[in-house]
Amino acid sequence: MAITAFLTDSTLCIGCKACEVACKEWNGVGEDGLNWSGYSYDNTGAVGHSTWRHVKFVECAPEPGFGGNAPELNSWSFSSDVCKHCENAGCLEACPTGALVRTEFGGVYLQPDVCNGCAYCVVACPFGVVQRNPDDGRAFKCTFCYDRQKAGLIPACAKACPTESIKFGEIESLRRKATERMQELQRRGMRDATFYDASDSSVGGTHATFIVRGDPRTYNLPPKPEVPTTYLKKAWTSSAIAAGLLLAGSVIAFLSENRSNGR
């Protein structure tokens, strides 16, 4: 089976939200409610249990001559966010039931029939993707369209994307495509184009990669995401010291008591 990935190219995104709709339609994900956030045209805010694809509307201060923008216009770019399907996935490591698994396509899949809603994956995700659905009780996130991939189809969001901003394919060929695209963007004067796949962090790269304009932090992409297993050694060492102190303290305390009682 081929290892697959997403490449979401914000320079091609037109903010139509077809990916959000296609995802909800295919996966039967419930509605989010109608809320006006005031953040450009984004009224969903972030990926969550009911939003597996989320289009970010990045409205920035005007920068004259900025990659084809008219000088007096704000730059306005869009980027479709999704579960990153980390190489070292915090949620997958943290899950105590084995509900979260690595699929043969390299994605991270949450088996809803196993999940018991302990919500430990929620605090283990450095990208804030997994969330517990308060009505259902279980955690939910993007499945990487595991069912469609199994049937040889591409994920619903990539299929619905009208501009091929969401590209899907075998990971190595997609990386080559990303490199070519980056060079093309440079040639066309978009020197601030950035490729994001978190491969320089403990997450060890992601199966959902992005091309964005400017600082990835503007798109809520963390510069240094850490998989929480990196803290395990420090924490368990502390736990062992604590256990040792408790044991030694109790022995000393009760032995000294007995001595003072004259036994």
Partner: protein, 347 residues
């Protein structure tokens, strides 16, 4: 030919600078055919912008913990029960007062029953608790914790039950085997059980928790010890020198821990120092650290009657401090998750 309507502002419009500006613009357009100025800023302007300084409109990247009120209470009960089991077993092995051994066991057994109930009721799907028994994952503190809890609960409950049966129906070999094996298991599992919750929240993506991953387990262990000592003292063991020693040690450690939190300058630690979560942390710290430490030291020098009173108040303060400390850490985690700056490395 119809006449142009006369532009005359009403009294309410004159009050508004924006309305006056609109009228000015209209006049300028009429007279010159163009407007040179910049126009009007709409109410609420400037609109939110995304930038490397504001992140994505300041929308938090991380998700808040979904845990409900059961979890901080579980941290408190589990910590006290684990520490009580260890103290009870050591007290038994060193031949201490039988009543103290028995009471420590009952505290452990009560915790062994309450802890799983709290944990299960927090699950989104409580009926699927058994999904946890499908696997053992050493890299998941939650998985390790669940198996530790299982071993601890079984051991502590068996020891207390067998002890009760022995007292009621007299000693027998099977009861002695169950009692001893249960106690050994409650000691073995009680050691990690009293502090693993520090690992549980330390090894997460929440900044205020993972920045303290190396200290939380010891901090939680000390909190558990002071609560267990307090409970035993309230059950009447206010003359035990061993409990006094353990309580004093825990209170001194908790005082140091509080000082450490207050003195370290790190933006990620703000939830422990500022706002409501900061004051809850401070309240928990003072009640677990300096207050019982001073009361215990005072009880060493005071008369017999005062000694008893001082230790009772030290016990009450430690128990309250331990509970508030657990609530404070969970609350600080929520505040930390809402801080969009931390994970983006801004500010």
């Amino acid at each position: 030919m119809s006449e142009m309507p006369k532009i005359r502002p009403s009294a309410a419009e004159v009050d508004s600078d924006r309305e006056l500006k609109l009228i000015e613009i209209r006049r300028e357009a009429e007279q010159r055919g163009a407007v040179a100025g910049k126009g009007v800023r709409p109410a609420g302007a400037p609109f939110p912008m995304a930038s490397p300084e504001t992140g994505y409109y300041g929308v938090p990247l991380l998700k808040e913990p979904a845990w409900t009120w059961e979890i901080p209470l579980y941290f408190f009960v589990g910590g006290a029960a684990g520490a009580a089991a260890v103290m009870g077993a050591i007290a038994d092995y060193t031949g201490a007062d039988r009543k103290l051994v028995r009471d420590a066991r009952w505290i452990a057994a009560a915790g062994a029953v309450i802890s799983p109930a709290l944990l299960v009721s927090d699950l989104g799907r409580p009926a699927r608790f058994l999904s946890m028994m499908r696997v053992f994952k050493p890299q998941s503190p939650m998985s390790v914790g669940v198996w530790t809890l299982l071993g601890f609960s079984g051991g502590a409950a068996a020891a207390a039950f067998a002890g009760f049966m022995r007292e009621r129906y007299g000693p027998s070999l099977p009861l002695r085997v169950i009692e001893n094996a249960g106690q050994a298991a409650s000691l073995l599992f009680g050691l990690p059980f009293s502090n693993y919750t520090g690992v549980l929240i330390g090894a997460t993506a929440i900044p205020v928790w993972n920045q303290n991953a190396g200290e939380l387990p010891i901090h939680f262990a000390a909190s558990g010890v002071s609560a267990a000592v307090g409970m035993l003292e309230l059950l009447g063991h206010r003359k035990s020198r061993a409990l006094q020693l353990l309580g004093l040690g825990a209170a001194i450690f908790e005082s140091w821990e509080g000082w450490r939190i207050e003195s370290r300058q790190q933006p990620g630690l703000d939830p422990l120092k500022r706002g409501t979560s900061g004051w809850i942390t401070r309240a928990g710290g003072v009640l677990s650290g300096p207050v019982p430490a001073i009361l215990r030291l005072a009880s060493l020098v005071g008369g017999r009657k005062n000694q008893d009173d001082f230790r009772r108040w030290a016990a009450i303060s430690s128990i309250a401090g331990s509970l508030i400390t657990r609530i404070a850490w969970v609350h600080a985690g929520h505040v930390s998750a809402r801080d969009w700056r931390q994970p983006l490395g801004i500010g």
